[in-house]
Symmetry: C2
């Protein structure tokens, strides 16, 4: 596995592979790999001749009060895991090379997709994501890119941007990878104190409860939300950021749950660790 | 010369040429070709194996009070001229194919480059330009693109965006092409009534006056601006939109003119026709 740090060198490699007729599958990450990341890499490998993984803790998608400095990092372990997963190139640029002095261009996706859910508590987050993904697509020139469905809103934003800017990259969603007990895998799970681990299960269990209630006939999302809020708050140290029933593509809030409905959850544990999860309610 | 209307067909053609090892030079236009456009096409042809010209009157760069509907169009004449100039493909998409229902992504370049000069009277204009050029670059995948220096601020914005988003396109500026009497060529010159033609010369003559005064030793831009304002207003039916001495790259206003200074002018003729011009003051 090659480790490339310069954007220009990355593009030169990509152009060479393209000329040789090799397709490129891309997995953008912020590192600190878990099984979720490795599953995305395997999916990319099954769909393309060569896999490029980017490892870049993108400063522009963190708010001033967020965990940029504390975000977990372990480059040695990550590069070993990526090599074992058959990754061809680990692209790990410095922030100064991604955002040189004077750079000032931003890619924004419309409020329809970015103002609600995580957009409420994380203003500017999706502009940071859209901009860096646009840059990475241009640097790496992949045929396809794999994104986890845990970040459902992010996936919708990336699909929108990729179509709108004619980026010509196939966007592939990968189902959420979970721990044995149901917790959605996330690098931020490492922030959880042992005593908070049980409370982190409030998200996946709330999803299961919503499915059960919906299967029993409850489709009114206001009543479902109220039931889920009570359920989540019954776990210690939990605070609800949002409980939203949205259309899977438009992310617009729905009054009645149906086959197109995704339940999206964000819960803060211990006032510090913000976790998200989501899933279909029916079907 | 091929005429292509669908973005996907344009990209397929570009990929084929790239695979065959042919470089692509690109000239984005809004049509109604004059000698300025044809000069850009010739420059592109001298630098690349194949020339693609886009003809798209981009609605998103016009303000609500601007001349979108009235913007001059003559597709038959344009396609004849482009074919004669040796253009390989004229890409002339419909607005509905460039901006399908639901699209909502915008590319914006920072205020340092976009809030002054034409950005004052045309809010949103440069976001429209940056977004459509980003799209066109992704659709056409050129090696280089040629822009006229008449739109100096646009050229600076495009250079910035291309670097910031890692678009990998070489941006080539082409000197302003002028009529025999000095008027900078523009599709908007067709709006001028015969009686206004002389007033339109106020811009190029003001540039000449600025150079003369600077050569004589006047470098104070406040005094130069005052002299140019009086000079321009001495022509009938003129109103000054801006007279600005700016750094050629940063577009920041300068108190003293030097070798890096560009004088940028925008003048309204007869309250209706807004013309721009620019040039170095020294050297």
């Amino acid at each position: 596995m090659q480790i490339i740090r310069q954007p220009a060198a990355m593009t030169a490699w990509a152009k060479e592979q393209s000329k040789a007729g090799h397709s490129i599958g891309f997995v953008p990450t912020m590192g600190f790999f878990h099984q979720g990341h490795l599953s995305l890499m395997r999916m990319a490998a099954s769909r393309a001749a060569l896999v490029v993984v980017s490892l870049f803790v993108n400063p522009t998608q963190f708010g001033p009060q967020e965990d940029l400095a504390a975000y977990p990092r372990d480059f040695e372990r990550d590069s070993t895991l990526a090599a074992e997963a058959g990754v061809a190139v680990l692209f790990a640029p410095d922030a100064a090379d991604m955002y040189p002095k004077g750079c000032s261009t931003t890619v924004t996706v419309g409020n329809e997709l970015t103002s609600q859910l995580c957009g409420v508590s994380r203003p500017g987050h999706f502009a940071g994501v859209a901009t860096v993904v646009c840059k990475l697509f241009n640097i790496i020139q992949p045929d396809l890119a794999v994104f986890g469905e845990k970040d459902w809103q992010q996936l919708a934003v990336i699909r929108r941007m990729t179509a709108d800017l004619n980026l010509g990259v196939e966007i592939v969603g990968h189902p959420i990878v979970r721990e044995a007990d149901g917790l959605a895998m996330s690098s931020r799970n490492t922030y959880l104190a042992p005593s908070q681990r049980e409370s982190a299960l409030s998200l996946s269990r709330a999803l299961a409860l919503a499915r059960k209630l919906a299967a029993e006939g409850e489709r009114n999302t206001a009543r479902l939300t109220a039931a889920l809020r009570d359920f989540i708050l019954s776990f210690p140290e939990t605070a609800v950021d949002y409980i939203s029933f949205v259309h899977q593509h438009t992310l617009q809030e729905l009054a009645q749950a149906d086959e197109d409905t995704v339940l999206a959850l964000a819960v803060k544990i211990g006032g510090r660790v913000r976790l998200i999860d989501n899933g279909r309610v029916l079907g």
